[in-house]
């Protein structure tokens, strides 16, 4: 029989306001196995833990039940506390009477009753707990960063600088990501490529970093410290070792002039050849053949690039290659894109080339962009005089079909940036910004926005635009209302810039599934804890960096990238990881050797061996299941598949769960 101590936490008033803590203590005192029960204001506090330790020593407790917040919050704390007092940490169970009781119920009597039941279930479970010992698994000292934008670059550099090897997998031909498309950055207005390019070069040259560009993650298996990742290196059709990056092939590609292949990098504002580098500073500076559009691949004729390449680097025969690499940690830095604007017919984005998105405006204002940095309308190449910016296009929408429910966070700032940059170059431009709210929390952010208003006289109007109507004269009629002045506005504009909502890169869903990392309704990766573990995924060994986790600007991205790197470094610095002791275990006397469990094990942790058994005196050789505890992650799939009950899960055993059911139903 266990000697169980029950500790009920008030959590200030968080629990005590709705749960009669004293009453819980009185009622659970009588449960089988309980020898001690008490309450305390904050069980997780130093003093609270001290109380637990004292009780363990004084009453010789063999098991603890803590009635407090979610075990996801403090189970670790209390386990460590038990360990301090010499008790096996797995003799602790937490009854969640805060998140699953006091916080959701109002009626005190009802909440108290429920708290008692939850405590009873935990007590019943502890009665069946057995001391468990953590195992150890080795750590592969290499990290994988998925995504080569600023988030991935920064994470990789930080990890590499700490002395660990890092691989970056980028699906585009070059690293650089969205930031490489930007012209200037807020709130300092410094040139994006001026700060990004050096980092890209550094990545390329860093001895600890391996780049897999034009590559994708194909398959992930394993677990923290020991991931096996298949990376598909798509055929570039250009020999990496031979290519000098001279660019001759791109210049000579016949499709460069006559083809109609929109440049992804320039958001379709200009065309590119079939063999191309996305942009001049691309890293690696090796072109790639777009096989879908290339005449040679379509018809077998042409071959101009291969002929003119001075170093004979073009290789049409190249095949996709799959490499399998072992990693200890994986960082997801898959970044973002902007939403599709098809749903917003009222803004005429698909109707008029002069209605553009902000990211297109970045390209239009960039000296290396399609217009050489000269702001012009795509319809008639004239410089726009009146420019209207529309904020929150697709952000802050109520329903899925309208757009995204969240604030995209960066639009207010980049719009102010755009307005000022335009005014700087072309001071006689009239700029109107229609906004719902101007949101500028951040260092020097509001000052930046005020500068746009006060210094540059950008006209900010509160009121969402209702409609943009292309006019026969080529201008755009913008219909809006000034809510503060109470007027309806119908104004003509030469160009309309839409601050389209951002969304996580659509590829992230597939990657999250492979990694078994969870994602939220908006496809942003979920962090292990919103406040306390913001750069970790709930899945051990998976870390989050950049926009993949949520909207953020460049400085935030860079800080998060660094934070993720630190977490990775912390992991890789260990030679061994403690493994979860809650693993499956096979009772060899009950095992039939039927292999059903092995068929459902996602980790290949179950093997079969012929072993000599002594079944109450009956000695024979039997084929029985054996669990490799280093591989087993404790999901328990095998236990429900096993018909005889031979396979059981430590810490969540069949009898433990059954007894919890019984306790709840009592």
């Amino acid at each position: 029989m266990q000697k169980i101590g029950v500790f009920v936490c008030h959590c200030g008033t968080n629990i005590a306001a709705t749960v009669d803590v004293k009453k819980v203590v009185e009622l659970v005192r009588y449960e089988p196995g309980v020898v001690y029960a008490d309450d305390y204001m904050y069980m997780c506090s130093e003093a609270g833990q001290e109380k637990i330790i004292e009780a363990i020593k004084e009453y010789g407790l063999t098991g603890l039940v803590i009635c407090s917040c979610s075990p996801r919050m403090h189970e670790k704390t209390f386990r460590a506390c038990a360990e301090k007092a010499g008790l096996n940490p797995y003799m602790v169970e937490v009854a969640n009477i805060r998140e699953q009781c006091s916080w959701i119920h109002k009626d005190k009597e009802e909440a108290t009753k429920k708290a008692v039941i939850l405590a009873r279930a935990a007590i019943a479970k502890v009665n069946l707990n057995t001391p468990l010992k953590e195992g150890e698994s080795p750590v592969t000292k290499r990290a994988l960063v998925i995504g080569g934008g600023i988030a991935g670059i920064q994470t990789a550099l930080d990890i590499a600088d700490a002395g660990y090897e890092v691989d970056i997998v980028e699906k585009e031909p070059s690293i650089g990501g969205r930031m490489s498309q930007f012209d200037k950055t807020f709130p300092t207005l410094d040139c994006a490529s001026c700060i990004l390019t050096p980092k890209m070069v550094e990545v390329n040259q860093h001895p600890n970093i391996t780049l897999y560009t034009y590559s994708e993650v194909e398959k992930v298996s394993g677990y923290v410290g020991n991931f096996d990742v298949d990376i598909r290196k798509k055929a570039r059709s250009v020999d990496f070792d031979k290519c000098t990056g001279c660019g001759e092939c791109s210049t000579k590609c016949p499709l460069g002039k006559i083809g109609n292949i929109p440049s992804e990098f320039d958001r379709g504002l200009r065309n590119r050849p079939a063999i191309y580098m996305p942009f001049a500073q691309a890293v690696p500076a090796v072109p790639v053949i777009d096989r879908e559009n290339c005449t040679y691949f379509k018809t077998g004729k042409c071959g101009v690039c291969a002929k003119i390449c001075p170093s004979k680097a073009v290789d049409y025969e190249q095949q996709d290659e799959i490499v399998t690499v072992k990693y200890g940690a994986i960082v997801v830095a898959t970044g973002f894109d902007i939403i599709n604007l098809d749903k917003f017919g009222e803004y005429a984005y698909n109707e008029s080339p002069d209605v553009i998105t902000s990211i297109e405006l970045e390209r239009l204002m960039n000296a290396a962009g399609p217009t050489g940095g000269h702001l012009e309308r795509m319809s008639d190449h004239k410089q726009p005089k009146d420019i209207v910016f529309i904020q929150c296009v697709g952000s802050r929408c109520d329903s899925e079909e309208k757009g995204k429910p969240y604030c995209s966070k960066v639009c207010c700032m980049y719009t102010a940036k755009h307005a000022m940059l335009i005014k700087d170059h072309w001071p006689d431009t009239n700029i109107t910004v229609f906004y719902i709210d101007v949101r500028t929390p951040g260092k020097n952010f509001d000052e930046f926005y005020r500068r746009a208003v006060e210094q540059y006289h950008v006209n900010y109007i509160k009121g969402q635009v209702g409609k943009v109507k292309p006019q026969p004269d080529g201008s755009l009629l913008v219909q809006a209302a000034d809510l503060l002045d109470g007027k309806q506005i119908n104004m003509k504009a030469d160009m309309v810039v839409l601050a389209a909502a951002i969304e996580p890169n659509p590829g992230v869903r597939k990657i999250a599934t492979m990694l078994t990392a969870s994602i939220d309704n908006n496809n942003f990766l979920t962090e292990a804890h919103a406040k306390l573990r913001p750069v970790e995924s709930p899945t051990a060994g998976i870390f989050l960096s950049g926009m993949a986790q949520g909207p953020k600007d460049i400085p935030e991205t860079v800080s998060q990238a660094g934070a993720a790197a630190v977490k990775v470094i912390g992991l890789l610095a260990k030679d061994h990881l403690k493994t979860n002791p809650c693993t499956a275990q096979c009772d060899t006397l009950l095992c039939n050797g039927c292999s059903t469990c092995a068929n459902v094990c996602p980790y290949g942790a179950i093997t079969y061996e012929d072993v000599q058994v002594n079944d109450h005196g009956l000695r024979e050789t039997r084929r029985v299941a054996q669990v490799n505890v280093a591989l087993c992650q404790g999901c328990g799939a095998c236990t429900s598949a096993c018909p005889s009950g031979a396979m059981d899960l430590q810490g969540f055993s069949n009898r433990q769960i059954t007894t919890e059911v019984d306790a709840i139903c009592r």
Binding site: R29, Y30, P32, V35, Y36, H616, G617, L618, R666
Partner: protein, 365 residues
């Protein structure tokens, strides 16, 4: 002699049920088993053998013995008057045992065949000898057995080898003997209990002057049939008291047990098997302790923590038949623990049965 036409049996049942609980063969979902008769239930005395025997009447398959509840002794009570001590006194809990009430109302077991009536004697030897089983005893005291003659014995029957007369229940230790002949039930009280019962329900009967001659004819007809049955000549030579060593060590067991599945069909349909297990069922605040039939054919029969029960099916198989044909007779003046009802002959999934065992030993002498 009392008689009642078969069409009016329901009024007989009603009359009995008016004063007693009536336990009798009832047809439900296509099968006939003993159960308590209530208005609307389909009493069935034509089916020769109920699937389970009627032993449930005295030794139910599941029977609650008592319940145990935990009572809380509050700290202050546990500590007595010493209030200061109370704070440090651990709370105690006390177990409270609540026995179930023993059966105290008379009930009637109607339609028991002579073999099953003999089986009651077999069980009496177990449950009514020291130590007496109170649960069984109370039922025996309050149960009134109405035996029914077999009309058409079947090929699986072999009661005659145990000197049971299927045709004449008045020879059996029943309280009332009955026959069904040509659409009429004839009723003959034997014991005082039987008389008392008869007195209470006499109004439903009519008198039949030819009863005695009809019954005599029926008895001789059935006895004639019984002689023709394939196992009528089965010999029990070599079995019985004192044969333990000889039979236990026999090599024949190894040959006969192999088909055995280790299910409990034979034991559960058997009128004489009386092994049981006692288990606890946890309820809301305590446990219910109940006993239920167990089968020596089960691998977990008498299993204890050390695991030292019978390990192989051979051992279990041997145990069942040794018990019936050797151990029991040894302890009970040669009485066999089998009444030849033939239920196991009919129901064994693998067609193994006591007859085959007896024959196998005879062949391998």
């Amino acid at each position: 002699m009392y008689s009642i036409s078969k069409e009016n049996l329901n009024s007989l049942y009603s009359a009995i049920a008016g004063s007693y609980d009536l336990f009798m063969p009832i047809k439900a979902a296509g099968q006939t088993n003993y159960g308590f008769w209530t208005e609307g239930a389909e009493g069935d005395i034509d089916t020769l053998k109920t699937i389970k025997s009627g032993k449930d009447a005295f030794f139910p398959q599941v029977e609650q013995l008592y319940t145990v509840n935990r009572e809380i002794v509050p700290a202050d009570v546990a500590a007595g008057d010493d209030a200061e001590k109370a704070a440090d006194t651990p709370v105690r809990t006390k177990l409270k045992v609540n026995p179930v009430k023993l059966v105290d109302n008379d009930f009637v077991i109607f339609g028991m065949r002579p073999c099953d009536v003999r089986a009651i004697e077999v069980m009496d030897n177990v449950f009514l000898t020291d130590p007496v089983d109170n649960y069984y005893k109370s039922r025996r005291e309050h149960g009134i057995v109405v035996a029914l003659a077999c009309h058409e014995p079947e090929e699986s029957c072999f009661c005659t080898i145990f000197d049971i007369d299927p045709a004449d229940p008045s020879k059996a230790k029943a309280d009332v003997a009955t026959w069904v002949i040509d659409g009429k039930l004839y009723w003959k009280p034997i014991t005082e209990k039987g008389e008392a019962l008869t007195a209470k329900i006499a109004s439903v009967f009519e008198d039949d002057a030819d009863a005695d001659s009809k019954i005599t004819n029926e008895i001789s007809y059935i006895e004639g049939i019984a002689k023709q049955l394939p196992n009528a000549d089965l010999s029990l030579e070599g079995w019985g008291a004192g044969k333990t060593d000889e039979k236990f060590k026999s090599e024949v067991w190894d040959k006969v047990y192999k088909g055995c599945l280790g299910c409990g069909t034979c034991t559960f349909v058997c009128p004489t098997c009386q092994c049981y297990d006692i288990k606890d069922y946890t309820t809301k605040d305590g446990i219910q302790r109940y006993r239920c039939w167990d089968s020596c054919m089960y691998s977990d029969f008498t299993l204890m923590a050390g695991g030292q029960n019978r390990q192989t099916q051979l051992q279990r198989f041997r145990q069942r038949f040794m018990h019936k044909l050797v151990y029991y007779p040894t302890n009970n003046d040669g009485m066999f623990m089998c009444v030849g009802c033939g239920r196991c002959v009919e129901k064994c999934p693998q067609s193994l049965n006591i007859v085959k065992v007896i024959k196998a030993f005879a062949e391998n002498k």
